[in-house]
């Protein structure tokens, strides 16, 4: 048993957690951005799938994973625009629209996989993203193991979280976005274009979340498989709640979720592995527990999920 604990709590678990956290964290950052602008982003799961599929497809066509990353961003922005069209433009309930989008993209990616590769399970293997090695850092004990060598998107995430924090809390555009999420009427009366900024936030969020998909497909593996996001988009939303709609909090919460994921993967490498399915349940159970514990303490943007201008005769929000 002690051996088992050593495997589970090895530094490699943390390193794996960082890698596994990246898709969740990017999606969570996307969630933070769009929800700060007042739009509930349940479509993150679909954006992860769209990003992953587009990344693999473009890499498959060109052989260049960087083109795949760009394609993922484009696909994610397209999905973001679609969510904007329905949730903002056509005033659909944000939650229903997000779930509809996820089902649409689950179907679409599975369908396209068969159309293009004639396979319902996984795509052919394509070129993966390179691993960057940070020269000086590589040799520092522990920290080198942890941060020394990763997919570029891992480093991007570690930079993107503080950057998004600065944008949201220290720049004019961030102030405007937050104002829309809190009080769209106030923003409107100050001449701040509510819908335009919501669309822009959703576009940026779509790109961010799809990068998470690209990491999932090209950073961890080198192929696409059906429903490969496996609920990470929903976990990202829970991470966002747990992180109190703060990019840095979202990043930390994503790491927490990824840690259980990394643990379960390492447990399965044990000589006498624990039952696979039970161990695989851990991240899902943790998400439920964390969400249940976190909601009471966190306060969402006041106008989250509301349409602007409001429905006539609307009672409770």
């Amino acid at each position: 048993m002690t051996d088992a604990w050593e495997v589970i709590f090895h530094i490699n678990t943390l390193t794996a957690a960082l890698r596994l956290a990246t898709p969740i964290a990017l999606a969570a950052l996307a969630g933070t951005l769009s929800e700060r602008a007042g739009v509930i982003n349940l479509g993150l799961e679909g954006k992860l799938l769209a990003g992953a599929w587009a990344a693999v497809y473009a890499t498959y066509l060109t052989g260049a994973p960087w083109v795949g990353v760009l394609a993922a961003v484009a696909a994610g922005m397209l999905v973001g625009a679609l969510l904007g069209l329905f949730a903002v433009g056509l005033r659909a309930n944000h939650v229903v629209a997000g779930v509809g989008l996820n089902i649409l993209l689950l179907g679409l990616t599975t369908w396209l996989m068969q159309v293009v590769w004639d396979s319902r399970g996984t795509s052919p293997t394509v070129a993966a993203l390179p691993r960057w090695t940070i020269p000086g850092l590589r040799d520092v004990p522990l920290l080198g193991d942890l941060l020394g060598s990763h997919s570029p998107l891992v480093y991007f995430t570690l930079l993107a979280a503080p950057l998004l924090w600065v944008v949201l809390f220290k720049t004019p555009v961030g102030l405007r976005v937050r104002m829309i999420g809190e009080h769209p009427e106030a923003a409107d009366t100050l001449g701040i274009p509510v819908h335009r900024l919501q669309y822009l936030s959703l576009l940026a969020a779509g790109g961010l979340a799809a990068l998470g998909g690209a990491q999932l497909a090209l950073g961890d593996l080198a192929w696409f498989s059906q429903n490969m996001s496996a609920g990470r988009g929903y976990m990202a939303l829970a991470a966002n709640v747990f992180g109190q709609w703060n990019p840095l909090g979202s990043l930390l919460a994503s790491l927490l979720f990824a840690l259980t994921d990394a643990m379960q993967m390492r447990i399965q490498t044990l000589p006498n592995p624990w039952p696979t399915e039970l161990v695989q349940m851990l991240p899902y159970l943790l998400t439920i527990a964390v969400l249940s514990g976190a909601v009471r303490r966190s306060r969402p943007p006041a106008a989250l999920g509301r349409h602007y201008p409001p429905e006539p005769g609307a009672g409770a929000p």
Binding site: R176, R178, E182, E185, A186, D188, I192, P312, G315
Partner: protein, 525 residues
């Protein structure tokens, strides 16, 4: 309505039409405002005042009509256009983000920037400079949620001034203020006027119109009734223009014949979610046949008091007795069983389920009781009969099977009141019973409440409207920061004294007589 040549109109709105579906909100309205005047836009609720001003501010687009500013025809399609034309608006519901600071709220949309980042230091300076100029002191770093209503209003005025507004629209600015704060606002308006600004002041209160304005434009039912110089008119004449007939400005309240105590609060305390006290040891009692009014600036515990009595919020301490007994079960059902009726302060959030049919709303809270239900099954016949009677007796226009959302605000409120008063309750908790309804409905609701009083009900009236409180209450208690700071017979207070108590001050007894005009009792309440 034409310029005499000597008066240069800074603003003209000509033949404005606006309809929302079947509702005609503005029907050929004219408004001409002279530079540097305080112009009152007077009318009942629903007369089209706010619609007209929202058109001016670019929030609605008119179906027809023309707007001229300084003689130039302009097209105002958005608030941005309005601001560019020098128009600023202080909305009745403040357009402020609670969680942000004053400075953040004030500079949003025109943020000072340094190296791509928000320059909050400069924002602070800008705020302070503007505040000093008009004597509107606020702390730029305070969060809006920590400010009083009066302070928030100052922030709103500053917001318009910082955007270089020449024409300032104030939408019902006095509705939430204490009399003293109203006087301060009046000072600020004079200051603005002296600075060459033009003020458009929306109200339905005659007293303020007479006291503050240079000229008055009256709207009724979406139409322009007339524009007069304040000096040439009287409250009675304005009231007639506003309502279209001669109105009784006073409700007559026969002397109370108090009987046994029916509602008792004994050292009731309530805390909020963060554990902060919201009500501290409130002790009150209301007897049969009397009305106890609760005065206070909004946010001083009225909502908590309402919810505690209604059983919607757990008590942190103390006890409540209704008809001499403590409720056997927690929650609203236990209170109702003891004879409590509750007219909630927010009809759309609480008093009605707007998407459900009128018939269902007419039995809300009684839908488990005979005769409306038996063994968990609804009895449509009984419901229909009952709701039909409610609609008839309160002259509510609406069909039982239509969603309550389709009723007008006044009819919605009448439905709530009718429902709550239907089973001759012994204790009535009436919260903001006439908020946002027209004069006719107000009179009817007041009449009904006084009838119940005469029939021996105990009524606790919570209202932000001092005129209403003073007209209906036999006794008045003032709530300040969750405590009852004073209580006494209505005749023992002047409006000014109540205002001081509401602001947390202790009036000096000798200062009972003061200069502010108090011409009308329940004028246009």
């Amino acid at each position: 309505m034409t310029a005499t040549g000597t008066e240069p109109w800074i603003l003209e709105m000509i033949d404005i039409h606006k309809r929302f579906g079947p509702v005609v909100a503005n029907d050929g309205v004219h408004l001409a405002v002279a530079r540097g005047e305080i112009h009152c836009l007077l009318g009942e609720n629903g007369a089209g005042k706010s619609t007209l001003m929202k058109i001016l501010y670019g929030l609605y687009s008119p179906d027809r009509g023309e707007i001229r500013i300084r003689g130039q025809r302009v097209a105002i399609r958005s608030p941005r256009d309005a601001m560019a034309a020098g128009i600023g608006m202080v909305h009745q519901h403040f357009m402020l983000v609670d969680r942000m600071t004053v400075a953040e709220n004030l500079v949003a949309g025109m943020e000072p920037v340094r190296r791509g980042l928000l320059d909050l230091d400069r924002a602070r300076q800008q705020v302070q400079a503007m505040a000093a100029r008009y004597g509107l002191q606020v702390d730029p770093d305070a969060r809006v949620q920590d400010l009083s209503v009066g302070q928030q209003q100052r922030v709103e005025i500053l917001k318009a001034l910082m955007r270089r507004a020449d024409i300032l629209i104030l939408d019902e600015p006095t509705a939430v203020l204490t009399p003293q704060e109203v006087d301060e606002l009046f000072q600020v308006m004079q200051q603005l006027k002296a600075d060459g600004k033009t003020v458009i002041f929306i109200t339905h209160k005659l007293r303020e119109t007479m006291a503050f304005s240079d000229r008055v434009t009256v709207l009724r039912g979406g139409r322009h009734v007339g524009t007069v110089r304040t000096a040439d008119t009287s409250p009675e004449a304005l009231a007639e223009m506003m309502v279209g007939r001669q109105v009784m400005l006073r409700v007559s309240r026969p002397p109370a014949k108090p009987g046994e105590t029916l509602l008792e609060l004994e050292r009731v305390s309530v805390v909020d979610r963060r554990g902060q006290p919201r009500l501290r040891h409130v002790t009150l009692s209301v007897r049969s046949g009397e009305v106890l009014g609760i005065a206070g600036v909004e946010g001083n515990g009225q909502l908590e008091l309402e919810e505690a009595i209604a059983g919607l919020r757990p008590l942190a301490g103390g006890r409540i007795r209704i008809g001499g007994r403590e409720p056997a079960q927690p929650g609203p059902r236990g209170r109702r069983a003891l004879g409590l009726a509750h007219i909630p302060s927010d009809r759309l959030r609480r008093g009605l389920a707007a998407p459900l049919p009128v018939a269902r709303n007419g039995i809300l809270g009684r839908h488990w009781q005979a005769p409306f239900a038996r063994r968990g099954l609804l009895r449509e016949r009984a419901i229909r009969d009952h709701v039909g009677r409610l609609l008839a007796s309160f002259q509510i226009r609406g069909r039982p099977d239509a969603p309550a959302a389709t009723l007008s605000g006044g009819n919605q409120q009448k439905l709530v009141v009718a429902r709550e008063l239907a089973d001759s309750p012994r204790v009535i908790l009436a919260c903001q019973p006439t908020r946002g309804v027209d004069v006719g409905a107000i009179a009817q609701i007041h009449r009904e409440l006084l009838q119940r009083r005469a029939a021996g009900a105990a009524i606790l009236l919570i209202s932000a409207d001092l005129d209403e409180l003073m007209a209906l209450s036999d006794r008045i208690a003032v709530l300040y920061e969750g405590e009852i700071v004073t209580e006494g017979p209505t005749e023992a207070f002047t409006k000014q004294q109540l205002g001081l108590w509401m602001a947390g001050q202790r009036p000096v007894p000798a200062a009972a007589k003061d200069s502010a005009p108090a011409k009308e009792g329940a004028a246009g309440a």
